[in-house]
């Protein structure tokens, strides 16, 4: 199976932003758990 060679800067930025959003979701999500649980 051949995959596409190195992807575009746009795709790189998009992947990075999705991952950053996941990190922020975990951060605020767990603080929300603190708010609801505490």
């Amino acid at each position: 199976m051949t995959e596409e060679p190195r992807s575009s800067p746009r795709r790189i930025r998009r992947t990075a932003l999705i991952l950053a959003a996941i990190a922020l979701a975990f951060y605020f999500g767990f603080i929300l758990i603190g708010v609801l649980g505490g």
């Binding site: 992807s7 990075a16 991952l19 605020f28 603190g34 505490g38």
Partner: protein
């Protein structure tokens, strides 16, 4: 093919600009090799500082009674030793190896986000200067243990907000590093390098990066709530205000347990690279290794409360977390079996990286078995907060993660420097480290089973003999590391035989197709992943 590629690289490098001269090369670097080097040097420095704190702890514990330090300072030593070794030494060492090797192993010219890579590294010296400066503050450094359980952690002196801020900085650095690793691996692989063709070190790091991304924000959230409890009148964890201190423990260990795997999965990747090279056989069960690592990573999210059996929880909770924890032995067993099967009937030689990898296999497994023992709820109630636990996690982290880092450094050092390290001194370092690490940590099992609690500066006289032995082991282990530093410095200074592009006897992987030392810029045109270099 290798020679042709190496020649092409040499020719290319000659016409390409070299690195900038002087301090600018390091401060403004966006080159993955330079940033990798900085991470590794920083990590070595932190190993020395964390090691010095460990030696102070062991000196105090050499005999019963108070020798050198006050009990409060002793608590600062244990807390800071853990924070420095975990966040300053082991993790940055693994990130340094990732920076150096991931682009080389997947055929990428650099990390996907090189400027962020620079920022990820340069946050760390500030974070750790801040953390170390807390020793000199009113009330001293954090002393409530690296877990920072409230309400104890909230009783710290002036150091508290600075410790929290430095942990936030370390977290930001790790998250940015993790994003960079994932984006690089998903987007920058050479054509034809499908995911399952990737080297195991890259696989180990891809899974690790996802773990980092999921759990570092959780730690950040937990310490943010500690901060607001202390300074902004909230009561997340304060029982007096309606909060729940046990909730902190749940949130902390939701981060803390995957954190253990963050430190060991790249080590698994390293060992999976080293053993096939020196056994001269392909890795047994390449695909099953990937699935085993993924399985371990998944399970790491559902076992956190095994750190809290003595806190109290419903029986069903105890059973769930006990069985889930024991389940981790299955994929781990697959990995140990595969490494052993790789060596089976292999044409093995025992250069220093292989020695460290084999020691990893035996000694990490001891840590794994004692992990199974502490996973058993009724037994854990006896073991909890005893030196048995200290023995367990040090076996996992020192002859586990740290020995894998040694294996990786000896394995790739000729590729980085272009010079073969001194094999005799490397082997001397290995044997002294292996002997002393066992003298240091094995007696701690007996101490724990006999009832010696952890985090105490003084103890009953019945524990004196094994503590004296452990301290002798610590001094020997600490001094042995001077050999390692000497060997690395000599290789960097070019004192030794010139290394060929392949370095070892027909190793697999794209990193061996570039010359040694690896040029400043590599793989600016994507390489072809031939059967010669591919893993599958």
């Amino acid at each position: 093919m290798t020679t042709a590629v190496a020649d092409a690289h040499l020719a290319h490098d000659a016409e390409h600009h070299g690195p900038p001269a002087g301090w600018r090369r390091w401060v403004f670097s966006t080159n993955h090799k330079d940033i990798g080097t900085m991470y590794l040097v920083f990590s070595l420095l932190m190993f020395m500082i964390g090691g010095a704190l460990a030696l102070a702890i062991r000196a105090e514990l050499f005999s019963p009674g108070l020798q050198f330090v006050e009990p409060h300072f002793f608590n600062q030593l244990t807390t800071m030793h853990a924070l420095i070794m975990i966040f300053g030494a082991v993790m940055p060492a693994m990130v340094g190896l990732a920076n150096w090797m991931i682009p080389l192993q997947i055929g990428a010219p650099d990390m996907a986000l090189p400027r962020m890579n620079n920022l990820s590294f340069w946050i760390l010296p500030f974070a750790f200067t801040l953390l170390l400066s807390t020793f000199f503050m009113d009330g001293g450094a954090a002393a409530g243990g690296w877990t920072m359980y409230p309400p104890l952690a909230l009783q710290a002196g002036d150091s508290f907000p600075f410790t929290i801020f430095s942990i936030h900085l370390m977290g930001m650095s790790s998250i940015m590093g993790a994003i960079n690793v994932i984006v690089t691996i998903l987007n920058m692989r050479a054509p034809d390098m499908t995911l399952l063709k990737m080297p195991m070190f890259v696989w180990g790091w891809l899974i690790t990066a996802y773990l980092l991304l999921a759990v570092m924000p959780v730690l950040a959230g937990a310490v943010t709530m500690l901060l607001t409890d202390q300074f902004f009148g909230t009561s997340f964890f304060l029982a007096a205000g309606g909060g729940d201190p046990v909730m902190y423990q749940h949130i902390f260990w939701f981060f803390g347990h995957p954190e253990v795997y963050i430190m060991i999965l790249p080590a698994f990747g390293i060992v999976s690279e080293v053993i096939p090279t020196f056994a001269r056989k392909p890795l047994f069960g390449h695909e099953s290794m990937v699935y085993a690592m993924s399985c371990i990573a998944f399970l790491s999210f559902v076992v956190w409360a095994h750190h809290m059996f003595t806190v109290g929880m419903p029986l069903t909770g105890q059973l769930f977390f006990m069985f889930a924890t024991m389940l981790i032995a299955v994929p781990t067993g697959v990995k140990v079996f595969n490494w052993t099967a790789t060596m089976w009937r292999g044409s093995m030689t025992f250069e220093t990286p292989m020695l460290f990898a084999i020691a990893f296999l035996f000694l990490f497994t001891i840590g794994g078995f004692s992990g199974l023992m502490v996973a058993i709820v009724p037994a854990d109630i006896q073991y909890h907060d005893s030196y048995f636990v200290v023995a367990h996690f040090h076996y996992v982290l020192v002859p586990g993660s740290v020995f894998a880092i040694f294996a990786a450094v000896y394995y790739w050092l000729p590729k980085w420097t272009g010079t073969m390290y001194n094999e005799k001194l490397g082997k001397l370092h290995f044997w002294l480290s292996t002997i002393f690490v066992n003298i240091l940590f094995f007696p701690m099992h007996f101490l724990g089973l006999a009832g010696m609690p952890r985090r105490i500066p003084d103890y009953s006289t019945q524990f004196a003999d094994f503590n004296a032995v452990a301290t002798i082991g610590a001094i020997g282990f600490g001094l042995s590391q001077l050999i390692f530093i000497w060997v690395v410095i000599q290789a960097i200074r070019g004192k030794g035989e010139r290394a060929s592009a392949k370095v070892w006897d027909n190793p697999k992987g794209l990193e061996w197709t570039v010359p040694s030392p690896a040029p400043h810029h590599t793989f600016e045109t994507p390489p072809k992943v031939s059967t010669e270099v591919a893993f599958q």
